[in-house]
């Protein structure tokens, strides 16, 4: 290795393991391996410990960008998971989440390089949420929860380091999306009135699973005082139908993460998840005049119906339940491009029996 320039925190670590830590982190920064936040430097021993949690060949190629001549392996995913701050037992979920993102049509069309700069939204179902401490309750989109923060972040580091797609280089995001750093939530199955989201993705209830979408925004719906389920739905439909998110040419879709209070309110008024989707599809419309005002009207001979449905179909409006049951707040999110959720959740295999954790955190 060529000698790195001396920086603070790099002085001798022989008698105190902590003294070299900052220098090691600086070393990673200097090489461009970080998304901006500190990374955990990974060693061979760390990688072995992580790989022991999965029954996978370390050299198995798990993703490729043929146009960039780049491929990534299970071992490389482990290295980046370590760097993101994951614990070894997160690796099966990181790999499943990677598969889920890769399976989304949206991730196939240059998404990682796109000016829209989408972020992978991960939704976790099953007992693994409690096992790994994945937050699905209060502050579900926010900081403070290691598993949420580091599992989402690992995917971003795999893209950056494994594919070599970095901002202002091959990644050309105009503004980017805050969640591109990390955006991993659990579904609040316990307070959801409906079956787990992953069931819609083809995985049996109670089985650990992760679903993924590449998204461009999260926008809140705050509606606490109405006694009408339809008023809440109308408010959500209004956000889904905003013209700024409409790309023209074809429909783009939208989804909603209902807070448990909204979800239970809707369910108590008799709405199933499919009913919610149908209502939102029918009411997330804009007049042709609105589309003209925004310069987004169709120039085809037949410009489509008036009012114009802004969602492609009821089934393509994902409905997830997450957060605390302490206020009637929900969030609309917007999948990237003209894609929609693939409708496929990926099961997470249990941690491999061979795994031993030599680096338990000190008590």
């Amino acid at each position: 290795m060529t000698a790195a320039p001396q920086v603070d925190g790099r002085a001798g670590a022989a008698d105190d393991p902590v003294r070299g830590v900052r220098g090691a982190i600086e070393y990673c920064y200097e090489r461009g391996w970080s998304d901006g936040l500190p990374v955990v430097p990974a060693t061979e021993a760390d990688v072995a410990e992580f790989l022991a949690t999965v029954d996978r060949d370390a050299d198995e190629v798990i993703g490729a960008q043929s146009h960039l001549n780049r491929r990534v392996t299970v071992a490389q995913a482990a290295v980046n998971a370590i760097m993101a701050g994951c614990r070894p037992e997160y690796l099966p979920l990181v790999l499943a989440a990677w598969d889920a993102v890769k399976g989304e049509p949206a991730s196939q069309g240059g998404a990682w390089q796109s000016t829209s700069g989408p972020a992978p939204l991960l939704v976790v179902n099953g007992p693994i949420r409690d096992r790994l401490g994945i937050n699905y309750a209060g502050g579900v989109f926010g900081p403070g929860f290691r598993a949420n923060a580091t599992i989402g972040r690992a995917l971003g580091l795999i893209v950056r380091n494994g594919y070599g797609i970095r901002p202002q280089e091959l990644e050309q995001a105009t503004q980017g999306v805050p969640g591109r750093w990390t955006l991993c939530i659990g579904e609040n199955e316990e307070l959801s009135p409906w079956e787990p989201f992953s069931v819609a993705g083809g995985v049996e209830a109670g089985v650990d699973a992760v679903s993924a979408m590449l998204i461009r925004d999260c926008e809140y719906i705050d509606n606490r005082h109405t006694e009408s389920a339809e008023a809440v739905l109308w408010d959500i439909a209004d956000t889904l139908a905003r013209t700024g998110a409409y790309l023209g040419i074809k429909h783009s879709t939208g989804g909603v993460v209902l807070g448990p209070e909204h979800a239970q309110f809707l369910a108590s008024a008799g709405y199933s998840r499919a009913d919610v989707q149908q209502w939102l599809f029918e009411h997330a419309t804009r007049s042709q005049a609105d589309l003209v005002a925004a310069g987004k009207e169709s120039h085809d001979e037949d410009p489509g119906p008036d009012p114009f449905p802004m969602m492609p179909s009821a089934a393509e409006i994902p409905v997830i339940v997450a957060g605390a049951a302490n206020a009637a707040i929900s969030t609309v999110f917007r999948p990237f491009g003209w894609s929609t959720w693939s409708g496929r959740s990926v099961p997470v295999p249990p941690v491999s029996d061979t795994a031993t954790h030599t680096q338990e955190a000190p008590a």
Partner: protein, 184 residues
């Protein structure tokens, strides 16, 4: 001191890409068969069509083939490349006006050159960095292309026509004469 830290960027070896030698330049475009390779971004096809019209009227080329790529991120598929190779003497590629398509337009230019077809790539100037990054990734650092001011997608047809006219001298220079930077 930090030799034990694993480099997270080291993956399986990709295909080694040597520098792409540019196809021999014809010197004069007169009478040559012109192919157009467009992507699906708004105005891309109109832009290369306007370029073709000017090349026909001013330089005596004959437009024989127009192809639109099915993917904005990937280079043209082999069958499309083969069509262009079989039927055209020179090809105009464009317009790289997004994050991934600017890079893939450069990859198209290089694969056409490799197939022996002189090509010129048009990229909007906001995407120089990703176009250059792709050229380097493909082993051909310094590959020359033609830029047009960003944005392209919101131009009227007349706006596209004006831009095409402004780009034509450079397009002709890169298609007909030696490309100094990339020929080395």
């Amino acid at each position: 001191m930090y030799d034990s830290i694993i480099d997270p960027t080291l993956g399986p070896a990709g295909d080694a890409r040597g520098r792409t030698a540019l196809a021999p330049r014809p010197g004069d475009l007169s009478g040559l068969r012109l192919g157009l390779l467009a992507n699906t971004k708004r105005n891309a096809e109109d832009f290369v069509e306007e370029v073709a019209e000017l090349l026909e009227s001013q330089h005596g080329v004959k437009k024989v083939l127009v192809r639109k790529k099915p993917s904005i991120v990937n280079p043209a598929p082999p069958e499309m490349l083969e069509e262009l190779r079989a039927e055209c003497d020179v090809v105009v590629v464009g317009v790289g006006d997004c994050g991934s398509c600017s890079a893939s337009a450069v990859a198209d230019g290089l694969q056409l050159e490799e197939a022996g077809i002189p090509a010129v790539v048009i990229v909007s100037d906001a995407f120089r960095v990703s176009a250059d990054a792709m050229a380097t990734l493909q082993g051909t650092e310094g590959y020359q292309y033609v830029t047009t001011p960003h944005p392209v997608a919101n131009l009227s047809r007349q706006g596209v026509r004006d831009r095409a006219a402004a780009a034509v001298p450079e397009i002709v220079a890169l298609l007909s004469g030696p490309n100094a930077a990339a020929a080395s």
